[in-house]
């Protein structure tokens, strides 16, 4: 099951030139671009591991692509990788754009668990199949 989080997630995966243009757009807006990765695809897993540091002083998308490629070298196929852009302007101070750039080769998806509780109520839990295995060995 294809993970759909962040922007463009219903589009085919972006190509490198497309990623470069998106990143340049972020930089031109003065946002700090970050590269993050994780192997826990749960939607509530908000804080992914940060690759390196936020790139506050990069002026050209090539610098971000340089890091993205380094991250891919280390994690491609085993982790999700996303690019996020943080706007530090007062009153924004939050992410303005985030999109997945790389995903594991095989995405097994999620299971929906139903727990029957008092009365006729049901509680729902989603759990990624891949999360059954220990961190680092999931994909």
């Amino acid at each position: 099951m294809r993970l759909t989080q962040g922007a463009f997630s219903f589009l085919p995966d972006l190509t490198d030139p497309q990623i470069t243009r998106q990143v340049q757009y972020c930089i031109d807006n003065g946002w700090a671009v970050n590269i993050e990765f994780t192997d826990d695809p749960h939607p509530r897993n908000t804080y992914w591991e940060l690759w390196g540091q936020p790139m506050f002083d990069v002026r050209d998308a090539a610098g971000v692509m340089f890091e993205l490629n380094a991250c891919r070298k280390a994690h491609k196929g085993q982790h999700y990788i996303r690019v996020s852009a943080f706007d530090s302007t007062h009153t924004w101070e939050s992410l303005r754009l985030s999109f997945i750039t790389d995903r594991p080769a095989d995405e097994p998806g999620f299971t929906l668990e139903r727990q029957e509780v008092e009365g006729r109520s049901i509680r729902y839990t989603t759990r990624a199949y891949s999360a059954n295995r220990p961190e680092g060995a999931r994909y």
Binding site: V58, A61, G63, F66
Partner: protein, 317 residues
């Protein structure tokens, strides 16, 4: 949504699509049209001397135009390697030209952003194991889309200390210089003899740097012209007598040791300004605007150079 959509840009279109290539292209007209003529003219008027540097820039500019013309005929145009090395004696304008170079390359369309990141050994080499690589990469990332200027580049390589981390920085630099030629232009600068040794010890650098530009020493007239510009820029002028004295000063100073071309001239003029200020301050009458802008012969003749010493501070023995 905060995102751009990927519309195909005009220049991404293949050359053949519908538009017939012209029979011939007037390179002269292109030269003026592209703004290149203006850029080079500006360089000519702004910087005194530096013949080899200007010639090389002209060549790079010509290559750009030819490449563009080739693209119009549908011929392959490979972007050239633009890494440069500036060598020359102290004060020959290496740093000044590097600052201009970023701007020029940007206008020529070789670099996308045209900013200049100036670094020295300190910014590239770390203090402990594992510190160098991230530091160097960080600098490289910052410089991408612009020009990375490594001043006194030979300090990166310290053969006397085999555990020096400079070598690591050099390796990363070389790798990025090779693989990301389109993203980054690296300019190495330093004094001729030491750079020569640096390149001998690191043959990888020599072959990856396409343009070795040697900055010649300035001639006497050029130095005087530089002095005139410096003063003009600060709203000063030499009186006719002072001009004559300055001419003699330059002649004498050039023959002395520790002569640093443009920098020596700047320092000499700074000292002349000090003497002028002191003379005006000690003068009996109120000063006019003319007094304030004019440097007299005595301000220059008071220099130690005329009594056989070297005009510098602290005084050299």
């Amino acid at each position: 949504m905060d995102a751009v959509t990927d519309t195909p840009s005009a220049d991404a279109r293949p050359v053949e699509s519908g538009v017939c290539p012209p029979d011939a292209i007037d390179l002269r007209a292109e030269f003026v049209e592209s703004g290149l003529a203006a850029v080079l003219e500006e360089l000519d008027t702004d910087l005194v001397g530096l013949g080899p540097v200007k010639r090389r820039l002209r060549e790079i500019g010509a290559l750009l135009l030819v490449d563009r013309a080739r693209a119009r005929f549908g011929l392959q145009a490979v972007s050239p390697t633009l890494h440069m090395s500036f060598t020359g004696n102290p004060g020959t304008g290496k740093t000044t030209v590097a600052l201009r170079m970023a701007q020029i390359l940007h206008r020529l369309g070789y670099v996308r952003k045209g900013h200049l990141v100036t670094v020295t050994r300190d910014d590239l080499v770390g203090q402990y194991i594992g510190h160098t690589a991230p530091k160097t990469k960080d600098v490289l990332k910052r410089a991408m889309g612009g020009v990375l200027f490594i001043d006194e580049a030979y300090y990166l390589y310290r053969p006397e200390n085999e555990r020096d981390y400079g070598q690591e920085a050099i390796e990363i630099l070389l790798q990025v210089m090779e693989n990301q030629r389109d993203d980054l232009v690296v300019i190495l600068a330093g004094y001729s003899d030491r750079m020569e040794r640096f390149f001998t010890a690191n043959p990888g650098f020599r072959s990856r740097v396409a343009h070795h530009i040697d900055f010649p020493d300035y001639s006497g007239e050029e130095l005087e012209a530089i002095g005139g510009r410096l003063l003009g820029g600060m709203n000063y002028a030499l009186s006719p007598d002072a001009e004559e004295a300055f001419h003699r000063y330059v002649d004498l100073r050039m023959k002395q040791p520790h002569f640093a071309n443009g920098r020596s001239i700047r320092n000499a003029l700074d000292r002349a300004r000090l003497r002028q200020a002191n003379r005006l301050f000690n003068g009996e009458r109120p000063v006019t605007a003319r007094d304030l802008t004019t440097i007299e012969a005595e301000d220059i003749l008071a220099s130690r150079v005329f009594s056989g010493g070297i005009d510098s501070y602290p005084p050299l023995k």
